[in-house]
């Protein structure tokens, strides 16, 4: 272990406490029942991650259908009705079933290991949180086979398109979102309880790894906004089934109220999908630059600032809905402000690289691509914040380009970076370097081919969510579709790398990456089922 003395925390605990106490735990039941009944944070973490990967492919197939239809002008493969179901389900599955559970899975695996806790604070609740998800999303996917089809009103399900004019299956959609929401809230409660109560002795809040910090803040966001989502879908349920008129103007309701409520949930939701990504990248960049993270405290404050601001910007999704001038100005200014703490983060990562000793293992490649491409998404976000210009950008492919840049090479790349980073800890093997490199480069090329031309399509006037388009958009769409097929296909490599890594490969020591700092690297690789039965002593680095 080559390292810089005095620049990393010193970890002190015996290996016996890390892994040797298995006899104190009863043997788990065998077969499927083991996975159904498990309360172990590592097993539940794996369940979350596998579930998320499966959903990533299902949501991905929906995206491929969309891109195939948009490959050239005219309707070739699917009718508009089914196309709308595909765009809607792609969004819902990717947001609620792929990205969010992936981060929860990483949290389950890594938060106890990073703070020196033996497990999550509420293990049975943890089991329940996970098993709600397959129920929720089996229900959601089953709506595709119901009469009238599945949700076809976009992942934002604006009323009254989703209420008065929605398909009969909308009630099932509401139920499935309720179940997924409960799962998220319970997961968030568990994470907060774990972080606040179960840190290793000596570890203050300001000693926690940033992944732990970002997840703590994310959990508070989840607890704050998931009930708002639950409220708005319950109002929909009432409008559809019980004759209320929350969102029906004919009965004195207000369709715009729906959007206020939805985006009060929806904007913090996008930070729910990106803050943990910041945490992962903040762990990986110092490891492979062999230099401590620059500005740890400012990273924490910036994360908190972003979280607080996220409650004050929801109406920037509604600039053209007919808001009064003063509201437009307020939400424009607040939205622009978000660029400041986000900028601080990017500057900190880059300063961490500056005068480091940098190497380019797969986790680092994904983390670096994250920094560049997420920043590009941030730039288009800054452009979208300018309300007068948003009158032109709103609901076009420019917006589609923007949020895919922050979510795909943003959130998804960070998840993949995290998986490559922690696979040695989970499996005891390094991922296959050559395959991982192929996966990375094909993904980077694919993602940019897919999403960069969308900026131009949007500026040139192409609205989003259309199954057919005017001829001047044909070239942009052709390139986007080819890029999407490339990106989609290269994710099979990711599966191959993960499967191969589980089955074998170069053996990884406890300290799998030589400069990695946090407590998880003090337990053996693969991490035994039970770790930190007695808490380690945490000592912060000397200055």
């Amino acid at each position: 272990m080559a390292m810089n003395p005095g620049s990393k925390p010193v970890l002190q605990h015996s290996t016996a406490t890390a892994g040797g106490m298995a006899e104190a735990h009863p043997a788990p039941p065998s077969g499927l029942l083991r996975w159904l009944l498990t309360t172990n944070h590592k097993e539940i973490g794996s369940l979350y991650l596998i579930f998320s990967l499966v959903m990533f492919f299902i949501g991905g197939i929906f995206a491929m259908v969309v891109r195939a239809e948009l490959f050239q002008p005219g309707l070739q493969l699917v009718q508009p009705e089914f196309f709308n179901q595909m765009t809607t389900m792609h969004g819902l599955i990717m947001v609620f079933a792929a990205v969010m559970p992936a981060f929860t899975g990483l949290a389950n695996w890594m938060i106890p290991l990073q703070i020196g806790a033996p497990d999550m604070a509420l293990p049975r609740l943890n089991n329940f949180s996970f098993w709600l998800l397959p129920v929720a999303f089996t229900l959601l996917l089953s709506t595709l086979f119901m009469p009238g089809g599945g949700p076809n009103f976009g992942w934002t399900f604006y009323a009254p398109l989703s209420t008065t004019y929605g398909p009969p299956s909308t009630t099932f959609f509401i139920l499935s979102l309720h179940i997924a929401g409960i799962s998220s809230i319970l997961g968030a409660i568990n994470i907060i309880a774990t972080i606040l109560n179960m840190r290793a002795p000596g570890m203050r809040m300001m000693d926690m790894p940033l992944f732990v910090w970002t997840w703590l803040i994310t959990s508070f966001l989840l607890i704050a906004v998931m009930p708002v989502l639950a409220g708005v879908i319950t109002m929909m349920l009432m409008d559809i089934n019980f004759g209320t008129s929350f969102f029906d103007a004919a009965g004195g309701g207000d369709p715009v109220l729906f959007q206020h409520l939805f985006w009060f949930f929806g904007h913090p939701e996008v930070y729910i999908m990106i803050l943990p990504a910041f945490g992962i990248v903040s762990a990986i960049i110092p490891t492979f630059a062999r230099k401590r993270l620059f500005g740890y405290a400012s990273m924490v404050y910036a994360t908190a600032a972003i979280a607080i601001l996220s409650f004050l910007v929801w109406a920037h999704h509604m600039f053209v809905v007919g808001l009064p001038l003063v509201a437009e100005l307020f939400f424009m200014y607040c939205t622009m402000l978000i660029a400041v703490p986000t900028g601080v983060k990017v500057f900190n990562w880059i300063t961490t690289l500056f005068r480091g000793s940098i190497s380019f293992e797969p986790p680092m490649l994904f983390a670096l691509a994250f920094v560049v491409l997420f920043t590009i998404g941030g730039f288009s976000g800054l452009m979208l914040a300018i309300a007068p210009a948003d009158f032109q950008y709103h609901d076009t492919y420019f917006v589609v380009a923007h949020f895919h840049y922050v979510l795909v090479p943003g959130a998804v790349f960070a998840i993949m970076a995290g998986v490559y980073y922690w696979l040695p800890k989970w499996t005891g093997h390094y991922p296959n370097e050559r395959l991982a490199q192929w996966h990375f480069w094909l993904s980077v090329v694919g993602v940019n081919l897919t999403f960069f031309p969308m900026h131009f399509a949007g500026l040139a006037g192409m609205p989003r969510r259309i199954p057919d388009y005017a001829l001047q958009f044909a070239d942009f769409n052709l390139v986007s579709s080819l890029g999407a097929f490339l990106f989609g296909a290269s994710q099979l490599l990711f599966v191959a790398v993960v499967v191969l890594c589980v089955r074998g490969g170069r053996r990884a020591p406890a300290q799998a990456w030589d400069y990695a700092e946090d407590l998880e690297w003090s337990v053996p690789s693969p991490a035994p089922l039970h770790t930190f039965d007695t808490p380690p002593t945490f000592e912060r680095p000397a200055h």
């Binding site: 508009p80 604006y158 500005g295 880059i350 690289l353």
Partner: protein
């Protein structure tokens, strides 16, 4: 240092090629109003600010990645905090943002001042067409997609010279040089009326009225589309604005008024079956076809079939009233304000006699007019 220069040059090259690309129709149009020009400028200013920040930030990043490679023997430094630097890179973006907010605020204020308009036009979104009502002028019309469904479905090749998906039967005609106030609302779901060259995008919300305005500088044809997902045919409700000189506009208004009066006189006379069928097919093709389909097969359960529909065949009265009043709680809109009595009579007659629905009966415009006045 040399790496840094190379990187900066590379960044400059990239910026240069971006500019070329943007000049070649890959960018937001400058448009044909004062405000569209201002919006375009705001867009370009913020774009170049982002490019400049990007060149600096990515320049430093890639410089570090090349310069401080471990494979080249780089040794890591040991710094990890600097309050002064943190304050500087918080303050500078803040100043840039303030600089950006000032012109944006000014433009936004102008966009919100719809007072003292010369002409008011009500724009009503409806699944999946636009209705335009020149308030106080006695002229109103419905604007439907003109691209044939056969081209969209691929039954015949796309006509590349005919503005595929961006052509309508009735463009919105507006005078240049005059301040036109738009009032937006919707009959069903939320739509969004967007014409890029006019830099106007405004949601039409059922039950509420939004406002926006335009003063067009140049005569011409300006095309746009619905921007808010509004159901199955969201992609198929384009907008065409024909901006003409003021005299031409007045002449056009007068001719439309005359045509409306002529049509009103047609209500009282007896119409032949063949006349009604011909007119009905035309109305069906522009208004009904998107849901009920060319052959009247519909798209159940949301859009029932009309061909062979028992209730329709047995009850002409119910049939007419459904077209006039719509079906509450379902997708079928009320056409009492959208279609005139002649059109309603014609389309009812047509659907009662097309695709093997050979009832042989017809509905006269006068009957419809009577029902409408009830």
């Amino acid at each position: 240092m040399r790496t840094l220069l190379v990187l900066l040059a590379g960044g400059g090259l990239l910026a240069g090629s971006l500019q070329t690309a943007l000049a070649n129709g890959w960018n937001m149009p400058v448009g044909v109003t004062e405000l569209s020009g201002e919006i375009y400028s705001l867009h370009m200013i913020i774009f170049w600010i982002c490019v400049a920040i990007g060149v600096v930030v990515f320049g430093v990043m890639f410089y570090s990645l090349f310069r401080f490679r471990r494979s080249k023997g780089a040794k890591a430094a040991n710094f990890h905090e600097n309050t002064l630097v943190e304050v500087i890179w918080t303050a500078i973006p803040l100043l840039i943002l303030v600089g950006m907010a000032v012109p944006a605020t000014a433009t936004l204020k102008k966009m919100y001042d719809a007072s003292d308009a010369d002409l008011d036009v009500m724009i009503i979104g409806q699944q999946w067409r636009w209705r335009y009502d020149y308030l106080g002028e006695g002229v109103a019309m419905t604007s439907n997609l003109a691209t044939p469904r056969t081209q969209i479905r691929g039954d015949e090749p796309i006509d590349a010279s005919a503005n595929y998906l961006l052509e309508v039967d009735e463009p919105l005609v507006l005078p240049v040089g005059q301040k036109v106030r738009f009032l937006f609302t919707s009959d069903d779901v939320i739509h969004s009326w967007w014409v890029p060259e006019l830099a106007i995008k405004q949601d039409t919300v059922p039950g509420f009225i939004n406002e926006n305005w335009v003063r067009i500088d140049e005569p011409g044809i300006y095309r746009g589309q619905c921007a808010e997902l509004c159901g199955v045919d969201h992609a198929f409700m384009p907008i065409v604005v024909r901006a003409v000189e003021e005299e031409e506009f007045e002449a056009w208004l007068a001719s439309r008024r005359e045509a409306a009066e002529e049509e009103a006189m047609g209500i009282d006379r007896e119409w032949q079956m063949s006349e009604l069928m011909e007119r009905g097919e035309q109305v069906y093709g522009s208004v009904c076809v998107s849901c009920h389909q060319q052959e009247g097969t519909g798209n159940p359960p949301a859009f029932p079939a009309l061909a062979g529909n028992e209730q329709l065949l047995s009850d002409a009265d119910w049939h007419t009233s459904t077209v006039i009043n719509g079906v509450s709680g379902a997708a079928m809109p009320a056409f009492r304000n959208t279609l005139n009595p002649v059109e309603i009579a014609a389309v009812v007659t047509y659907t009662r006699n097309a695709w093997g629905n050979d009832t042989g009966d017809s509905v006269q415009p006068s009957e419809v007019a009577e029902r409408l006045s009830d």
